[in-house]
């Protein structure tokens, strides 16, 4: 190992002396710091705002006056997807998915107000985050600095004297690799700071360490690739051309190809299409507002038999409430069936696109980074599922009040005059059927499991390329 560190040190000294390398390094350090700070500020503000809005929404719901319980079903409630702590590193799909959703009876609404829809439009990579800089552009810096590592020695005819001085090819490559990897790891400093910030705000240490690990591994993949190319080519120009080609493919072309292929191989219909398709099924279930509809005749007969009475008025429960309750459950089954199918399709699309990580480490690292940060598609689906739970629970809670506390005769006479309407108003104390909603990303173990394929792909990239470097380094001849 003796000769290795002087080689690394020499390389670092060279970079510090080269105006180009030094200024490029400086530019990237600035860029990473700036994007990290901006992303962290933005996501922290979002986090605070949405937490506040969530609390306000709950407060408003609970402070509603006495009302007919079904009015509260349609008054509805709002839930907000509060971004998890690690979103300060990688906001993921946060900007392209709606962040708030209106919950009401008999309907599943979509999440509304995606930032991307209202933002300034400058195309391409205008929504630049620190995560994107690491994934897409840091490799450019590493290429610029590292493409000449070995081939430079070859072109300047210093390779032969080096190899003659008891320096083996393996030692030479190891020394150069350490130098480049050192630069790559130092560049992770802003990421480290942001992750520490997230950890201080309650993020699990496991996912935080995982996030740093996945970016470190990703950077090392590039280091090995760059060194490999530099060791194999005869001219710097050729090496640079090959690396540029690889970068073009891995960063610009493969990720978008993955998206296009996923949408072809796993086609998914839009929500409007699904909504229209399920209308017939929903009509078969019946409209819960109309207790006299033919769909509820059996329910009515069963209830009359169960309580052994002749007329619905004599039931100990409010028949309209029972219909609302039963119908809500049936409608929700239909809604959940279609929503579940849609989410399963989207998840399949995401998995298919992620498998392009075998072709481009960029695809792997971005998928892994989102999974670990809790800003991936699965987290958004988790939000949709949790929101649906809250929706169903408060609607059924209100329906229970309708069933048990509101007298049937008073209920059907509600439209006669204002005085009759007043009688149908239930006490506001009942509104506490609403559960508190505080959205959190999946637990650390689950997110690590989701990031496992990405980690596997990156490890494979790293091992394969490093093995190739070792193999090539044994054969280095001047």
């Amino acid at each position: 190992m003796n000769g290795v560190f002087p080689i690394a040190r020499e390389e670092l000294r060279l970079w510090l002396r080269s105006r180009l390398a030094f200024s490029a390094l400086l530019v990237f350090a600035l860029l990473l710091t700036a994007t990290s700070v901006l992303t962290a500020l933005r996501m922290s503000a979002e986090q605070q705002q949405r937490t506040g809005q969530q609390a306000l929404a709950e407060e408003t719901f609970l402070s509603q006056p006495d009302r007919h319980p079904h009015r509260m079903v349609h008054y509805g409630h709002y839930v907000f997807r509060v971004p998890p702590p690690l979103s300060v590193v990688d906001p993921g799909v946060d900007a392209v998915t709606g962040q708030s959703m209106f919950l009401e009876g008999h309907r599943q609404n979509t999440a509304m107000f995606a930032d991307a829809g209202a933002g300034a439009n400058l195309g391409g990579f205008d929504d630049l985050t620190a995560a994107l800089v690491y994934q897409l552009f840091v490799p450019l810096l590493l290429i610029a600095m590292g493409h000449g590592l070995i081939v430079r020695e070859r072109e300047e005819n210093t390779l032969a004297p080096l190899l003659a001085q008891n320096v083996t090819g393996v030692m030479l490559c190891l020394g150069k690799w350490i130098a480049l990897a050192g630069v790559a790891l130092v560049l992770l400093l802003p990421l480290f700071v942001m992750t520490a910030l997230a950890a201080a705000r309650g993020e699990s240490l496991l996912t935080s360490a995982g996030l740093i690990g996945i970016y470190a591994l990703y950077s090392l993949v590039w280091c090995s690739l760059i060194l490999l190319v530099s060791a194999l080519v005869r001219h710097r120009g050729l090496g640079l051309g090959i690396l540029a080609l690889f970068w073009l493919g891995a960063v610009l072309i493969v990720p978008r190809t993955a998206v296009e292929s996923a949408s072809t191989v796993v086609p998914a219909e839009g929500k409007l299409e699904t909504d229209l398709r399920m209308q017939a099924e929903l009509r078969a279930v019946g409209d819960g507002h109309n207790a006299g509809a033919p769909q509820f005749m059996r329910l009515r007969a069963n209830l009359l038999a169960q309580y052994d009475v002749e007329r619905v008025e004599d039931l100990p429960v409010n028949f309209r409430g029972v219909v609302a309750e039963v119908n809500e459950a049936d409608v929700t089954d239909v809604l959940n069936k279609y929503a579940g199918e849609r989410m399963a399709l989207e998840a399949r699309q995401a998995r298919f696109a992620e498998s392009f990580g075998w072709l481009s480490p960029v695809v792997a690292v971005s998928a892994g980074s989102r999974a670990l940060s809790g800003t991936d598609l699965a987290t958004h689906h988790r939000f949709l599922r949790k929101a649906e739970e809250v929706r169903f629970d408060f609607v059924q809670g209100l329906n229970r009040v309708h069933v048990e506390q509101l007298d049937y005769t008073i209920d059907i006479n509600r439209s006669i005059d204002t005085a009759s309407e007043r009688l149908t108003r239930m006490s506001a104390e009942n509104w506490n059927v609403l559960d508190e909603f505080s959205f959190e990303a999946a637990p650390a173990s689950e997110r690590l499991t989701r990031a496992a394929p990405a980690l596997t792909m990156l490890s494979a990239w790293f091992l394969l390329l490093t093995a190739a470097v070792v193999f090539a380094s044994r054969r280095i001849r001047p």
Binding site: L20, T35, T60, R67, R71, G76, Y78, F80, V93, V96, T97, G98, Q99, S100, F102, N109, T110, M112, F113, A114, A116, G117, A118, A120, N121, L122, G123, G124, F125, D126, L128, F137, A144, G148, R236, L240, G241, A244, L245, L252, P255, R256, A258, V259, E260, A262, S263, A268, E269, G270, L272, E273, D275, L276, Q349, A350, A353, L377, I416, T418
Partner: protein, 416 residues
Amino acid sequence: MTGLFREIRFLSHDRAALLWLGIAVFIAVVSVFLGLREVSSQRAELDGLIEADHREREVLMDLYQDWGDVAYYTFHLTYDPPSEFAFAAQGRRDTSPWKHNIRALALEGQIYETDAENPDFALVGRLDFAFVANLLAPLLLILLLHDLRSAERATGRFELLCATAANRGSPWFARAALRVGALALCLIAPLWTGGLLAGSGAATLAPASLVVVLHIGFWWAVCALMDRFGWSSPVNLTALVGAWLAFAVIVPAAIKVSVEATVPLPDGGEILFTQREAVNDAWDLPKAATMEPFVERHPEWADYTEVSQPFEWKWYYAFQQVGDQTVEPLSQAYREGRVRRDALAASLAWLSPPALAERALQALAGTNVAATLAYERQVRGFHKALREYYYPRLFREEPVSDASLAQRPEFRETGE
């Protein structure tokens, strides 16, 4: 002329140059193909939706005997079909809505719904022609041009070539011009092919080609400028890629951040909140509190504001309208904010030619912010027409009839 043929011969032997040009034409063809496919799948989806929408309304025709029920349960599809040039620049269609299912209830609760596709897709972006021409092509041009002089220098032929040339710079100019021209051709030929297949027409394709050529011209100028420093090929390439990073990534991102900081938007959640509170409070307020602001907008119904029952449909739809009226200042600010953001982004985009070219192509394709806002105006217009259709029937308590239903407005995609 012989000079040109000589340069073409040189180019045909330059394997690296052929590789970059090959990549350009391949990706351009793929992007046009994908764009055409996406547009046709959007059209097919719309066709299916339009048909299902009609079918659905037919089913509902005989179901309700009350205008209130009819208006409550009947949805209407509104949509913004992709233009003939949308294949080249998908623009905002990934994140902004271009189809809605609208009914006569308060519009503010409906218009912000977005029937978006998989968010992972919107995050990564599409491989459309605009992406190839605006982000990929400059890099390919840089790779084609960065070692024109420096390679000759490295091989020691530079001085000889300069000395024997008829005038200084001419062999370089011809060589560079040929490559720039070839690259432009590699992009524009697939664009025109796709455009003719999609029926875009020369009136769109010509300005689009001009955008592509001017943008490439800008990058040629950048390459020529860098060339003057006489650096070695690797240094030259590094500096040029740095310039690409600055113009194509950093400047647009900085513009976006500063525009959004300069022009804040009212919070979306607040719009919905205000609207819901206004609509729901109406239930507990005296009927006059709804009917008065309603009549201010619709004086023609001033004689029909008497609401004697605890629930009457005309009052129900009146407070839906009043809900929209209450939130109008916020909603207006949200729209104006987007317009101002877009205007500011338009003027600042001059600092980044790739962003400028992207915006120009999106404008030609009708997939930019302006197109989104125009569609939104169309939906608002249609919703207004729906209300104006229902109000006389609700207020005069007319019976529901097929003849009357036949007069109901249908959404038309053209005109606002």
